[in-house]
């Protein structure tokens, strides 16, 4: 019990440490932008007064950090600085205000966040739908024609970038066949093409995993026993092999949820899907709204870290071998 608690505390401490570092990196990124945010937003012709007002409004007139390094060596800037301000805001659920629209960044993010989650979940469902039958077929026909074909399709899925698959899906299913709209996120069916595009790479990874899992499990003693009992091959595979073979696959799924959330940026751009990725690209990066970019990067990273930590935690609970190691 004591060991379990200690392990849990250690894991939690690591997650908090990682979160602290990520937030610190994101807050300090703004110091690396070319020029200053004020001149970027207001333009080169802005007066000194306008710049001073802008800086005061967004807290940019304060020093960047507790200490700074200059010609006179290290200088202590006091507790009132931008880094401390950002943390103070975070604890109150405040990610600052957009440099462009003056709206709270958190509100802008919350408006778009559900669309990104929907897309990630839908693409995961697509990926499982493709990978499960393909992986099982490949695994049960090891080195056969189906296996080679499935392995080739899987490698193709990993190698084809979303920005190549996406436009071709649009070309076939929207332009030529007219089954879907080429972009947007107004109607429920609009999610299908982006979900297939985003899920393609994941389905390729899953197919390969399920294939090797099935091959490994088929060599186990319990499979021989099940066959000796006279069970049909179908029952052996679906009732016994898959049950055990899917444990590592479930973990990968959890870890991939974070990857999908982060990776949806390109898919959202291709299909004009109104999610967090498009907000980051079109309103943040393209308009040089650094405060918004900061907020989006932070929220996506935190989601990724939390999804991964939860998967890790659940996996440890499920599999005692990992818990004890």
């Amino acid at each position: 019990m004591k060991y379990k608690l200690l392990n849990f505390v250690r894991q939690l401490a690591l997650i908090l440490l990682v979160i602290w570092t990520v937030v610190s990196l994101v807050t300090l990124l703004i110091e690396l932008v070319p020029g200053t945010p004020a001149t970027t937003i207001l333009g080169e012709t802005a007066t000194a007064e306008q710049i001073a007002n802008f800086n005061a409004k967004h807290g940019l007139d304060k020093p960047a950090f507790f200490i700074s390094y200059g010609e006179n060596g290290f200088t202590w800037n006091g507790l009132d600085n931008r880094y401390a301000d950002y943390w103070g805001g975070l604890f109150q659920g405040d990610l600052g205000r957009s440099f462009r629209t003056d709206r709270p960044v958190l509100d802008m993010i919350l408006e778009r966040y559900p669309a990104t989650i929907q897309l990630a979940v839908a693409s995961m469902i697509v990926a499982i739908g493709i990978a499960l039958p393909l992986g099982v077929l490949a695994g049960t026909n090891k080195n056969g024609l189906i296996d080679n074909a499935a392995s080739f399709i899987a490698l193709l899925g990993i190698s084809l970038p979303t920005f190549v698959i996406g436009p071709f899906l649009v070309y076939i299913f929207a332009v030529k066949l007219g089954w879907f709209r080429p972009g947007g996120s107004l109607y429920p069916e609009d999610i299908i093409l982006p979900a297939v595009t985003l899920g393609a790479a994941l389905s390729a990874i899953l197919t390969r995993m399920i294939r090797s899992s099935v091959i490994e499990e088929l060599g186990e003693d319990y499979v021989r026993t099940a066959r000796a009992k006279g069970l049909s091959e179908r029952k052996v595979v679906y009732k016994h092999v898959l049950k055990n073979g899917l444990i590592p696959v479930v973990t990968i799924l959890g870890l991939q949820l974070g990857v999908l959330l982060a990776g949806s940026i390109i898919t959202e751009k291709i299909f004009s899907w109104q999610g967090l990725g498009l907000l980051l690209l079109e309103d943040g990066i393209a308009k040089r709204d650094y405060r918004l970019v900061q907020g989006c990067v932070l929220v996506i990273s935190l989601t990724y870290i939390i999804a991964n930590s939860l998967t890790d935690f659940v996996y440890r609970r499920l599999d005692p071998r990992i818990r004890l190691s």
Partner: protein, 291 residues
């Protein structure tokens, strides 16, 4: 070696030759626009047709190999060197150094979604400002002068996370190799830590990193194209495959050739390095060979 390895190696060889001899292979100047001849279909004069500005797509795909390989080789080489050094130090010294590096630093970098960090860095950083902080204004200009425009920024963005994979594998290898008899013998003979690490442990630990590097090449070709697609890569007029796809996106419904050829170039190159990586992994790991 399996068949796919040889297929991958052959495609990679073609891409490398294409990049090296681009000026000899390209049939047209990649920057010359011919507005009277926009969106021409593939023909004897323009093998892959022309794009929205009348530029020759074949020549741009050939030069695109140069951009793609230049970025991926630099990123993989730099990440591998940094990763090997840090991973070796963690594995060799152990103790608090290892606890700090593998327990904290590696985890922090692995916790960041790679492409997102690359996007954030490519969008945020002023590479001159970063270099000037570290080595002063003069040094920054001298170093940036060595790279083509945008390449150094790309290197920073993609190496920021790229090195961690190599460091992790190297640490594991060093932990194993440092217990071997020949290392103990070198210690007993009074060899210094540096000598043991660089001449005995490192050369014997590096094998799995070759697999990592070839898979890393595939990943970096994709990342470079993704950043260019988002408008954050090597700036035009350098013909990056990602930029070509982004430009073709608005017209591909009527002129699919503008998107097909750069898309195929990316897919084939990535596939080739994945085949090489998979083949090498299988070759180096006898357990996988029998599967």
């Amino acid at each position: 070696m399996n068949r796919l390895f040889y297929i991958g190696a052959s495609i990679a060889a073609v891409v490398i030759l294409m990049a090296t001899f681009a000026p000899l292979i390209a049939t047209h100047d990649v920057t010359v626009q011919d507005l009277a001849n926009r969106f021409a279909s593939p023909s004897a004069d323009h093998w892959f047709g022309t794009d929205s500005l009348g530029r020759d797509v074949f020549s741009r795909v050939v030069y695109g190999a140069r951009v793609s390989l230049q970025v991926s080789i630099s990123v993989v080489a730099f990440s591998a060197v940094v990763g090997i050094l840090i991973g070796s130090v963690a594995g060799f010294y152990g103790g608090w150094v290892d606890r700090f590096l593998s327990g904290y630093v590696f985890n922090v970098f692995l916790a960041f979604p790679g492409l997102l960090l690359a996007i954030a860095l490519a969008a945020f950083i002023d590479e001159r400002k970063v270099l000037a902080y570290v080595i002063g204004e003069g040094g920054a200009d001298a170093i940036l002068g060595l790279f083509s425009p945008g390449l150094f920024k790309m290197l920073l963005a993609l190496c920021a996370i790229g090195w961690v994979g190599y460091a992790r594998v190297m640490r594991g290898q060093v932990l194993k190799v440092r217990e071997y008899d020949f290392v103990q013998a070198a210690k007993a003979l009074g060899a210094s830590n540096m000598r043991i690490l660089f001449t005995h442990i490192m050369p014997n630990s590096i094998q799995p990193l070759i697999v990592q590097a070839s898979l890393g090449m595939a990943g970096t070709v994709l990342s470079e194209a993704s950043l260019s697609f988002l408008g954050l890569g090597i700036p035009p007029p350098a013909p990056s495959w990602g930029t070509m796809i982004e430009e073709a996106r608005n017209y591909f419904a009527n002129y699919p050739h503008t998107l097909f050829f750069p898309g195929a170039a990316i897919a084939l190159t990535v596939l080739a390095f994945n085949f090489i990586g998979d083949g090498l992994r299988e070759y180096l790991d006898p357990k996988q060979r029998t599967r």
